[in-house]
Point group: C2
Chain length 122, copies 2
């Protein structure tokens, strides 16, 4: 997200990670709020303000950063309308839509595992 310093090992190791398609994929969606945002956008186009209201616990800064990262990674398309006050809309790209069904499976798995973990606590 930020400018990467060319630290010897950390960066070199990151290369190893990114050589793996799977890790690459998970990195794309691994931000703290990205999945929630993607999920919301499955419902269709949203304005920045809408997302902000929807996710009141996400700070404006983080919302911006995560949206930018998603845009950068080709998962979200950003459209700016030359109006005042400004209007900006976000929507999923084709690539992101292909991800949807996979994420649904992952979500189910997560739910199952979570219930299991909860039961073990008793």
């Amino acid at each position: 997200m930020a400018a990467r310093k060319k630290n010897s090992t950390y960066t070199r190791n990151e290369q190893c990670i990114i050589d793996c398609d799977l890790t690459y994929a998970v990195h794309k969606i691994g931000g703290r709020w990205k999945l929630l945002i993607l999920d919301k956008l499955e419902g269709g186009k949203r304005r920045f303000g809408e997302l902000k209201r929807e996710f009141s616990y996400i700070t404006e800064r983080m919302l911006t950063l995560q949206l930018r990262a998603l845009e950068q990674d080709g998962l979200v398309k950003r459209t700016v309308y030359a109006e005042v006050p400004p209007r900006v809309e976000y929507e999923l790209t084709e690539m992101a839509r292909e991800l949807g069904p996979i994420l649904k499976q992952l979500s189910q798995w997560g739910g199952k595992q979570r219930r299991l973990a909860k039961n073990e606590m008793k």
Copy 2:
């Protein structure tokens, strides 16, 4: 991974994350090396030292931490043999095996996206 300080917002927000099955799932597999480890273990039981040799770029410390996290999350089973020198074996749990097919799809998606991104650079 480490002891969490109970910072007001950071932790509170984490709760929001974990209330989402999907984000919960991604968190379980989101560690820097977890996917590589899981992938290797799909091939069967491995000793700590085997993993260490296989992933020469992962530090011993990180390997330990990630394995412990995976164990904690019920994705990996750890078996200690009371021998000297010690022998410890790691293998996937049922839960982790169910994850396999989903990860394969994710990996394919990642590969596709990666090739796309590469082409756009030209």
